[in-house]
């Protein structure tokens, strides 16, 4: 595993066929310091992966063309180091026994809690050696 560069920003790909979800997720993660790219279909997501290395994917499950699970499995094949999260509003439709095989670190449910989400992603990236600046605390400056 290649160690991260001196002060690199983790690259995050978010895939969801619902644009409002993409916006809301970006909004929640804005201050986390990720380099975020978004895709509205799995196909689009795969072509982004083909253009360069990603560190982490956060994907919806129910999407046109293929399911998020299929997409993540394919993504992991192309970039085996990827950390994958699946996020769905219909957890019952996800075969949990498939999760591990498809390289999913954790299954998240919609609606999600922003703070929990941030923590989960941050922990995953810290495990990969990324260093996050301390959470912005305005009090210290005030």
């Amino acid at each position: 595993m290649t160690p991260p560069e001196s002060n690199p920003r983790p690259r995050l790909l978010i895939v969801d066929d619902e644009a409002r979800i993409l916006t809301a997720l970006q909004r929640a993660l804005r201050r986390e310091g990720y380099e975020i790219q978004t895709a509205e279909t799995p196909d689009e997501g795969l072509s982004i992966l083909d253009q360069g290395r990603m560190d982490m994917i956060l994907s919806d499950n129910k999407m046109p063309g293929m399911s998020g699970l299929q997409f993540l499995a394919e993504a992991s094949t192309r970039q085996p180091h990827l950390v994958c999260f699946l996020i769905t509003g219909w957890t019952e439709s996800v075969p949990t026994e498939e999760l591990e095989r498809c390289g999913v670190r954790k299954l998240l449910t919609k609606p999600w809690d922003n703070e929990t989400l941030r923590t989960l992603l941050r922990e995953a990236m810290e495990e990969k050696g990324f260093i996050f600046p301390p959470a912005p605390s305005l009090e210290s400056k005030g």
């Binding site: 066929d17 619902e18 409002r20 979800i21 916006t23 809301a24 997720l25 909004r27 929640a28 129910k62 999407m63 046109p64 063309g65 293929m66 399911s67 299929q70 996020i87 769905t88 509003g89 219909w90 019952e92 439709s93 449910t109 919609k110 609606p111 999600w112 809690d113 922003n114 703070e115 912005p136 305005l138 400056k141 005030g142």
Partner: protein
């Protein structure tokens, strides 16, 4: 003899009268004196004479010797058989008479005699009477012979054992049946007492000996059934008769084996009891009517449900006082011989209440397939209908349950970003508060006029504002708010559709817009299928249908969900899409809805069963098997039809026709 006085024919054979010869008419005249009973006919030749004389009723032939050779022909002809022949002649010699007697004439009368006119009739009458007597004797003998033949045939062929006994009960003769049944050779047993041939129990306990004694004494006794048990323990029954012949004191004993008949009667009795048990004990009501619809029999259940209306003699038409005869389903069985099952009809009870029954009718067939009335079996549907309504509602709830998962996804998406946005806006608000605190500090500073303070706070505000990116913050706050509002609007729609769908109809038929029903349903299921299905619509402007819109939506829901599942099953994980084609049209009398999918199709073997309740090819727990059966019932309730065409691997088409005319007969059925 009865015909002794019937007229008889006398044939007179004479030559043509020639001038100067004795008047031959004297012969005819003489015979005519015998009166109307004797029919005198004249002929001129032997052949005519023979032809006429050969007829049955010719009693006498009188031949004139003047016929010459023909006389001999006639005599020769009737010498051994046929009517007697008398010869009349005008010769004066006895030689003629002698010759004629030799040739077979029964008499010879000389016309020359003065008393010819008296003698000939007397002679003729004597021979006619003799002929009659002989003929009568022949008839009697023939009758006796024929009676004997008949008697022999009866005695030999009758399936009864016959024995003639003398007054001491000794066997005189037996018929073959007796020999066969009792294994008795007439040559061996002749002269032996009958008690040695017949079984003891028949003679004794059964009372045959007593019967014979009484008969011998002249008592006239009616036939008795007597029983005997053979070595195998099998019981045989005999119809026993004895009759005394007064002339010689002989007794005719007749034994007919009636065991089979008795067994049959017993079996018939058992079968009748069996049938009665079934008919009376069955859980359905049954009535049988004649061709006029009058009840000829009914069971207890029929009376339990309908009271006196199901009694024998009442008319089945009374059950439907508001309907014309031809409107009543039963008339189709009576008039056209049709059988049908499970028709739902309403009966009006005497107290005015309406009772729903399910009725099945079949023609009551006589020989050669002629209808002799109707057999009708029916059930009170009140309870069943209530259950049906429950099932209908359950089925609807099941399809809602099926939807719920898809709908949950559809709600959770907007919920997801609304929730995240709210959380974010909360954070934004915290930031805004912080900035506002700085603004307040600045105001305070301005109030005091402390420029240093003002400067410090102002710089701090600016740096905080930069750090928080306040322009972005305010813009994004607005965006997040707007997006969340949109999201909540989406949820509101979904919930409204869902509520709309789970609604129950009021029970009244209302004008329903089929296109609208179809669209509302599509909206609801669309989220579930949008990734796998391309929807193609071809709607026509439709007149409104009198119906139950909620039920129709349920029909469309069932068919759309099936179509979607068929497509999913065909596509698997391929990522392709299938097509659902929706088409509506009308032809002035009915509205037609076509729902076609490009799914897996239905195997031919299952096509006939898909509308059966509880038929499902899905895994246990995945389908109730009631979807299409419910669909079928709802369409039927609208007086419509549903047809299915399917090709395995190619897809399935459902075609629904709904009549525009509001048929009052269909109104009776309550809704689910």
């Amino acid at each position: 003899m009865n015909d002794s006085n019937a007229s008889v024919r006398v044939v007179v054979a004479q030559p043509q009268i020639r001038f100067g010869e004795p008047d031959p008419l004297d012969t005819v005249k003489a015979l005519q004196r015998l009166g109307g009973e004797v029919d005198v006919e004249q002929v001129r030749t032997a052949s005519h004479c023979i032809a006429l004389a050969s007829e049955e009723d010719t009693a006498l032939v009188v031949v004139d010797y003047a016929l010459g050779e023909d006389v001999f022909q006639v005599l020769e002809k009737f010498r051994n058989a046929g009517p007697p022949v008398v010869v009349v002649h005008s010769e004066h010699s006895d030689r003629v008479a002698l010759e004629m007697f030799r040739q077979g004439a029964v008499d010879c009368v000389a016309a020359a005699r003065g008393d010819y006119q008296d003698v000939l009739p007397a002679v003729a009458l004597e021979h006619i009477n003799r002929w009659r007597a002989q003929k009568e004797k022949g008839v009697v003998e023939e009758r006796i012979r024929s009676l004997e033949r008949l008697n022999d045939a009866i005695v030999n062929e009758i399936p009864a054992a016959l024995a003639v006994l003398n007054s001491q009960g000794q066997i005189i003769s037996l018929n073959p049946e007796f020999s066969r049944v009792w294994n008795a050779d007439v040559d061996v047993v002749a002269g032996k007492p009958i008690s040695e041939v017949l079984p003891h129990d028949l003679m004794g306990e059964a009372g045959l000996a007593e019967l014979l004694e009484k008969t011998a004494k002249g008592e006239s006794l009616s036939a008795k059934t007597m029983r005997t048990t053979d070595e195998d323990g099998t019981q045989h029954s005999f119809d026993v008769r004895a009759r005394l012949f007064a002339e010689d004191g002989h007794i005719l004993l007749s034994l007919s084996d009636v065991s089979e008949r008795e067994n049959l009667m017993k079996r018939i009795g058992e079968l009748q009891a069996y049938n009665t048990n079934i008919i009376q004990g069955m859980n359905s009501a049954l009535v049988v009517t004649d061709t006029e619809g009058r009840i000829t029999s009914g069971n207890r259940m029929a009376e339990h449900i309908l009271g006196d209306m199901a009694s024998t003699g009442r008319s089945i038409w009374e059950w439907f006082p508001d309907l014309e005869r031809e409107q009543v389903v039963v008339s189709r069985t009576l008039d056209e011989g049709l059988s049908f099952r499970g028709a739902e009809v309403q009966i009006q009870l005497p107290d005015g209440r309406h009772l729903e029954i399910g009725i099945s009718c079949a023609p009551l067939l006589k020989d050669e397939g002629i209808s002799d009335g109707v057999v009708a079996i029916f059930q009170d549907l009140t309870e069943i209908k209530a259950l049906q309504r429950q099932v209908l509602q359950k089925e609807k709830m099941a399809s809602i349950g099926h939807l719920a998962a898809g709908v949950a996804h559809e709600i959770n998406n907007p919920m997801g970003f609304i929730h995240a946005n709210l959380f974010q806006m909360d954070e934004y608000l915290t930031d805004i508060r912080k900035l506002w605190t700085k603004v307040e500090e600045l105001q305070e500073g301005i109030g005091t006029g402390n420029m240093e303070r003002i400067d410090e706070v102002s710089r701090s505000l600016q740096s905080m504002s930069q750090e928080l990116d306040h322009e972005f913050l305010l813009t994004d706050f607005g965006k997040a708010l707007q997006e969340s509002l949109e999201g909540s609007e989406r949820i509101r729609h979904i919930v409204r559709d869902l509520r709309d769908f789970s609604h129950q109809d009021t029970g009244e038929r209302v004008p329903s817009n089929i296109n609208q029903c179809l669209d509302t349903t599509v909206n609801l299921v669309w989220s579930m299928m949008k990734h796998s299905v391309v929807l193609r619509k071809e709607y026509s402007d439709l007149p409104e249908v009198q119906g139950y819109p909620m039920q129709l939506k349920q029909v469309f829901m069932n068919l759309l969900v099936n179509a979607y599942q068929a497509i999913r099953e065909k596509l698997g994980d391929s990522g392709d899409t299938g097509e659902i084609f929706l088409c509506t049209s009308h032809n002035g009398s009915e509205v037609r809805v076509t729902i076609r999918d490009s799914g897996v199709g239905i195997p031919q073997a299952n096509l006939d069963r898909i509308f059966d309740p509880f038929f499902t090819t899905k895994e246990v727990g995945e389908g109730t098997g009631l979807g299409l059966s419910t669909t079928f019932n709802i369409i039927r309730r609208h007086g419509g039809t549903i047809k299915v065409h399917s090709q395995a691997g190619k897809g399935t088409t459902f075609e629904i026709s709904l009549p525009l005319e509001d048929d009052p007969k269909l109104r009776d059925l309550p809704t689910g």
